[in-house]
């Protein structure tokens, strides 16, 4: 089920080009809108579908095994921390799903370079970088020795 761009909706912002892990979302040289240059190399990760702020990207199956008619649409609502999917099956059934994707405000996660450089002695600690503060807890639970 590779992706394709509805060019009447796309405003050429480049978000899908930026996020595509397969580097197959590119900019059309005639209309300066995004398009999938190699649908058979699509990993079907739907990153571009979710990232598109204009809801301009949809997915479709190959014509030999998935006759057209189905639809997969997504609505990302960062202000609510959710992503919703609407699936239309080939027989016309519709299903909607909503999933929470985060509990903190969009853009609030600190990048690694925003933290203080850890001490080298931290390498011998069982904790991962910036634990436990980055997990918003005081301490990780430990197993008490009998």
């Amino acid at each position: 089920m590779p992706t394709y761009t509805d060019m009447t909706r796309c405003d050429g912002c480049g978000e899908c080009v930026d996020i595509c892990p397969s580097d197959i979302m590119h900019i059309d040289p005639v209309h300066r809108r995004s398009y999938n240059i190699e649908p058979n190399f699509c990993w079907e990760c739907y990153s571009c579908v979710k990232a598109c702020p204009q809801n301009a990207i949809d997915v479709r199956g190959y014509a030999d095994f998935a006759p057209l008619g189905h639809k997969v649409r997504v609505l990302r609502e960062p202000e609510k921390g959710s992503i919703s999917w609407k699936i239309r099956y080939r027989d016309g059934r519709l299903k909607e799903f909503t999933f929470p994707i985060r509990t903190t405000p969009w853009g609030s996660i600190k990048a690694a370079q925003d933290y203080e450089k850890p001490d080298l002695s931290a390498l011998s600690s069982p904790l991962l970088a910036h634990e436990p503060t980055a997990l918003h807890i005081d301490a990780l639970p430990t197993i008490k020795k009998a």
Binding site: I27, V30, S82, K86, T98, S108
Partner: protein, 252 residues
């Protein structure tokens, strides 16, 4: 420079009627070009089919008042380029859009109402120059830094392609318009002024005659698509999921 009617000096070698006929011809070129663009790309047919499909899927009929309200909201959104999600593109687009409107309206006013230049209100040439400068500011920013193929797709800032057939001639035409105006106001040299005017007219003609192959028509169909999208959301035919009922952001 800012308060002189740039088209007044043209009467030395061009009758006012010639300039007026040129404006009418360019208007016709845009009109015919847009219709041809819509016809040969099949966009009108696609749009009509899409409208019919979504109308059939509507769960409720919109009243005339609701449709008018949606049209007003679409116009309000287009007036502030609200469809753009990134502020640099939005600002550059607004500079170009309002700059172009100022430039266009004042050009038409000066050529049709004050062809001889005498008694031209100073505000008209001033707004003409301001409009042209706004287009250049927004356009150059867009061309070198914001074009998506440059910013995201690794193309050189100097890359030229068919997608630039609108913004390229627009920028060059405006640049030559300002140079021509500067030259005739400051030096008054007839030869260089006429060469610059010739280049200005050449790129202006290219801008309007290339409408069927450029992105010019987007200023007409983008608002139509935005309106249709609002209608689909309002009448229940949108294929997008319903907005989530619950808010999951619970921590700061």
């Amino acid at each position: 420079m800012l308060t002189n009617n740039p088209f007044a000096a043209l009467t030395d070698f061009l009758p006012p009627l010639a300039m007026q006929v040129y404006i009418v011809l360019m208007t016709l070129a845009v009109l015919v070009g847009t219709l041809f663009d819509v016809y040969y790309k099949g966009s009108a047919k696609f749009f009509a089919q899409r409208m019919a499909k979504f109308d059939a899927a509507a769960t409720r009929r919109l009243s005339g008042g609701e449709t008018a309200s949606l049209a007003m909201k679409t116009i309000a959104e287009a007036a502030v380029s609200g469809e753009f999600c990134k502020w640099p593109r939005r600002i550059s687009h607004l500079l170009m859009m309002y700059g172009f409107l100022l430039y266009l309206i004042t050009t038409v006013a000066m050529i049709f109402a004050y062809p001889a230049g005498a008694s031209t209100p100073a505000i008209l040439p001033t707004l003409w120059s301001v409009g042209a400068l706004m287009i250049l500011a927004g356009g150059l920013w867009f061309f070198f830094f914001l074009r998506v193929n440059v910013a995201y797709d690794g193309a050189s800032p100097f890359h030229l392609g068919r997608a630039d057939l609108f913004v390229g001639p627009l920028l060059v035409s405006i640049a030559f318009a300002l140079l021509w105006h500067f030259m005739q106001s400051t030096y008054g040299d007839a030869t260089s002024t006429r060469i610059l005017f010739g280049l200005y007219i050449f790129f202006t003609t290219l801008l309007f005659v290339s409408v069927p192959w450029s992105k010019f028509a987007h200023m007409f169909f983008k608002p139509a698509v935005a309106f249709q999208r609002r209608v689909e959301e309002a009448n229940g035919s949108s294929d997008l999921p319903s907005p989530a009922a619950e808010r999951h952001i619970v921590r700061s």
